[in-house]
Assembly symmetry: C2
DNA sequence: TTGTATGCGTTATCAC
DNA sequence: GTGATAACGCATACAA
């Protein structure tokens, strides 16, 4: 029972004995068309089950009304929430999304970018993968006349639109909170320092120590501990030190914080009394671990909306001039949970 | 530094003083073109940074090479894994994905479907939302000449391609396992019975009781407990019964199983010794709760690949004849974890 | 093997 | 306000 052929504006025009261009105008709600005929056209369009061929429309208009998204993993809450935010804002504007996963590999990321360029998307939104520091594929996006917007994990050196968090401030608050809870030897699990977000988080950590006159202890700062496994390994090393830390700030992600928690549990170390733990991103699971994990909410859905709206706004304002690099910073929020509540009766 | 105009096949043709059609042929790797000129064309195409305009190509070919996906939530592991599977299989074939979320609302689902029809996608893959039992919007997909494939949550009455799990068998195994662990009063949290997958899971549960000569106790079968909140509510009711259950099979999802676990923990009831819990879907978090939750793995990534390949295969075989409804059933696997290990030294 | 001509379904630019 | 027509970029039937 399939209609092989879909109805086109010509079918409508033929049936009504008018020109296709009039049909097109009516369908686009132009005001250069008689109200009565417009009504009639809309009516018969509905009767004939007409659906505009977006392919043809976009070809003619020279844009695809599509936004490409590249994230490391689609199934991490932070990213899926950002995507949900972008989707919501784009939906109303009639834009579609093509979503790609880089799997944290720059090689895959380059493939994704090429696919999206081939698709002639109007805009590419990306949170870069951790490996690699050559961004010529992103420059390529710009050279192909495609708007590029970076969020969260951004390549500083590229002058593009950016939506980021105030990572430094958030880290400062998180570590300050831990210090105020009575933790004195706070370790830092840091992410790859080629990415500015991880540098900023480290700076926040250092600033907090300074603020409270605590010493910076090099052996408590662990490089590249940004996955669950690396976080677990780091924790094993830390907890076996002669003077182990009494808290760990997994500045890279909640996943590494989970690694910390699992190792601590396995070693019989009590959280939060013997070890405080703080993660980053407010992944859904941080609420259901035992104990629940203190973390930092990045307002991911809002972040996504901001990205999309930034693009739409930029499109409206842009005449012939080049894009002015613009950075929007969102202030994240510390979510205090059981894993850092050493000195409090707020414990769940 | 933007190239306003992208290079087209005409640009290449002009530069090489040949016809655009030859360029097109070369770019499509046709063998009706001289090898030498083909080489030359490919070379200059690369030099000029040529990217085929997929819009035009697809318009010409009458298909969009795009698959639309509608799932309740993109950020549930089961669905994001299925999507990842579809993506992997589609990527190689040069197909793109447009992903929509129904948020479990049929109203939103209808909107998604309409968007996808408007986009002229070649195929729509859907796992239907729980509310509503009118599937005219899906019939509409078929009537528009778009291939429809259902997976997991399928509308039985629609004769489409389907990829499902053997839910009945999986439930039978899960409940059998619980009985063998010594649980005697096993409650069932069931999903909306308008969906066949939930009916099948119930049947599996009933069959297991029958197999072990256990009585069917009506008050232990709770309708519509398919979210975390509903699961929690149901658990509160169940555990306050004069004769409470000693195990709960949350047949609908791991989320409702999580609700069960949280209520049990809050009430001070020990899992698995006093209460066994089994979920469904093998969401990532089931591994990190305390205790970890026994569940059923649906091989979600494989399921996605199967869906995509089913489509590609169907496309190849189809001449002018209509689609023959085909159902592929995947056997899921019971993942035994701590939450049901009452009688065992396998406890983690 | 290569070139010419046409159409995919729209929208934009003219005339009228 | 309406209609004819060109053009978006590509792929293909046909001719050469």
């Amino acid at each position: 029972m399939k209609n092989k052929k879909r109805t086109t504006i010509y079918d409508i025009a033929e049936k009504l004995n008018i020109a296709a261009s009039s049909v097109s105008r009516a369908l686009n709600n132009s005001n250069h068309v008689n109200d009565a005929t417009k009504k009639l056209i809309l009516k018969t369009a509905a009767e004939l089950n007409y659906k505009r061929n977006i392919l043809a429309s976009n070809l003619r208009k020279g844009k695809s009304k599509t936004i490409g998204i590249v994230v490391p993993f689609i199934n991490q809450n932070f990213f899926s929430n950002v995507i949900a935010g972008i989707e919501e804002a784009s939906y109303q504007k009639g834009y579609n999304l093509i979503i790609c996963q880089s799997n944290e590999l720059q090689s895959k990321e380059i493939k994704c970018i090429n696919t999206l360029i081939n698709q002639h998307v109007d805009c590419i939104v990306i949170s870069v993968s951790v490996d690699g520091s050559d961004y010529s594929h992103l420059q390529n996006v710009i050279d192909n006349g495609i708007e590029l917007i970076q969020f969260d994990r951004v390549a500083d050196e590229l002058e593009t639109l950016k939506v980021i968090n105030d990572n430094e401030q958030a880290s400062l608050e998180a570590v300050s909170h831990m210090i105020e809870q009575g933790y004195k030897r706070i370790a830092l699990l840091e992410g790859p320092q080629n990415l500015s977000i991880f540098r900023q988080r480290k700076t926040g950590y250092l600033n907090a120590l300074k603020k409270y006159n605590l010493p910076i202890i090099d052996e408590l700062i662990i490089e590249n501990a940004w996955t669950k496994e690396l976080g677990a390994n780091a924790t094993r090393r830390l907890l076996n030190l002669p003077e182990p830390p009494d808290a760990i700030f997994a500045s890279t992600s909640d996943f590494s914080a989970l690694g910390v928690l699992e190792v601590a549990s396995a070693m019989g170390i009590k959280v939060p009394s013997e070890l405080g733990i703080c993660g980053y991103s407010n992944e859904a699971f941080t609420e259901i671990t035992s104990p629940s994990i203190t973390t930092i909410d990045q307002f991911s859905v809002y972040m996504g909306k901001t990205v999309a709206n930034l693009y739409f706004q930029e499109m409206e304002n842009k005449e012939e001039m080049d894009v002015i690099p613009k950075i929007i910073s969102i202030k994240p929020k510390l979510i205090v949970r059981s894993s850092t509540l050493k000195n409090s009766n707020l414990k769940k």
